[in-house]
Amino acid sequence: MSIIVKNISKSYKQVKALDNISLEVPSGELFGLIGPDGAGKTTLFRILTTLLLPNEGTASVTGYDIVKDYKSIRNTVGYMPGRFSLYQDLTVEENLRFFATIFGTTIEENYDLIRDIYVQIEPFKNRRAGRLSGGMKQKLALSCALIHKPKVLFLDEPTTGVDPVSRKEFWEMLKRLQEQQITIFVSTPYMDEAALCDNIALITNGKILRIDTPEGIKASFPHKIYKVKSTKTFKLIQDLGAYEQTHSAYPFGEYIHFTPNTTAFRTQDLTHFLKENHHTNIEVFETGPTIEDTFMELSD
């Protein structure tokens, strides 16, 4: 096991940021911690990177205890904090060289590991980091976190605020890194990114809702799920809220994801109900659950 977390709790004054969290990440896995802002993701990252002490529980990273062996952990992990944390007034190359130096290595020594990512920003190596675009900043930050060949890579919300194109490229890079036997522990508020992880933990309000593979998470959804659509979306949401067979109704793109509260539900009943409420162009058909459906079902 690369990361072991046992019954970790952490409070700030009255606020319980983490409430009895346990999880395990095998070596070489791409593990996703999925949840909204304020769920406790950053707190868990800071505990695992030895920046915070937990109030209760124990944890280890590559066999080192996060409290006792914090120095060893600091030598073996790479960490990319939530906000862009590089020196804006240093150039791309200076930033990379600085992080190589403080980890006692050189760019040349581990160039192989970052080549794939770094070549994309190398043309701008003399540009100040502050003047890079969001996607490029993120690639530079990843290069800096990787330059000392860490065994475990901690990425706290690396894709937040980044556009979908850069996000997709970033995940492709992570997939390739995984082939280098690096354990990657990554957090994100975007549910659609969860599908790319080996295993994911859904977290909200300091509690873990479920840990499973993305497929397992979807399969655990306990209800049938239907896509519903009509011309008047706002009225549709309101009417579905008032419908007696509704368990939940949430907008998903141009459709509403509707789950019934009874197994006896029939689509024609709903269609009939909507017609009675003056909806037109009604569509109702069964669909498969997404991770987001499960997240909402579990956190409700």
Partner: protein, 368 residues
Amino acid sequence: MKRFIGFIQKEFYHILRDRRSLFILFGMPIAQVLLFGFAITNEINNVDIAILDHSKDATTKEIIAKIAASEYFSIKQIIPNEAAIEPAFKKGHIKAVLNFEKDFSKKLITENKATLQILTDATDPNTANTISNYTSSILKNYQQDLNKAAQTSYKIEPKVRLAFNPELKSVFMFVPGVMTVILMLVSAMMTSISITREKELGTMEILLVSPLKPFQVIIGKVVPYILLAVVNAVVIILLSLFVFKMPVEGSLFLLGAESILFIINALSLGILISTLARTQQTAMMVSLMGLMLPVILLSGFIFPISSMPLPLQIISNIIPAKWFIIIIKGIMLKGVGLDFIWKETLILIGMTLFFIAISIKKYKIRLE
């Protein structure tokens, strides 16, 4: 060691690329020394005064002649009696009235004591203070001459205050003060800001999660500023030597060593501030309000400590700048050696060790 050098190199990039701060860092000492040297001066020149002479004897005439001869005063008016003093002031032309008592000469010879009242316009307290100082010193000189001529040589007057600044140049008094302020500012404020900036940017998190030891981070932050502060000290001393022709009476080596001691003292204060402050803004406010104001107001730089109320006099003892000003005034103006200022030096060393000890104790290897 390579890590450490890499770190210092990075710090220099930060400093050299921040043009505005760099300009302030090096422009400020020059501007301040010139400002204090030329503009904000305590010197007086041809101040208009009036004379009220109740005796009109040989001695008073001699004194009046001496005052009239000095470049500091010009006698505008001879006042006949006390009643005319107030109107004279109210007209606003004169800044002071010298009131010689009756039988001045006689009293001086028979009782060895005669009184000269110096009335000054205290709406401008600084000038008033200076005028009274100047007149007293002219009187003292006259008295000395008198003693020399009339008495035998065994009566020796103690050296008066002006002896260390015989030309009464206020810039000589200001240079040590300005140097103290600048060194405090560069060392304490700049280091505390540069450390809190890393906290604010989030880079401190990465530095903590690296093999770099916390004390290496701190020392790496401090080293560049020691160099900068030394450069500043040298610039100030050169300016005072060549622009204001101010002599450094004592050992330059001692002056340098004491300056470095004070710089380290200020740096340790800067580190202490940065362990307590989370943002650059707080660090700056704390440095300005908590360090700069006391340095300017309570160190004896502008206001003499002896004229402060007792509570402030006591507080002034915990301000490192007070001791440093005593030390450098001693070295620069009096030419004293370590044997005269060892006490102040020890106090500074003690304070420095104390600040470093708290900083180390307060320094966090984690985020909270």
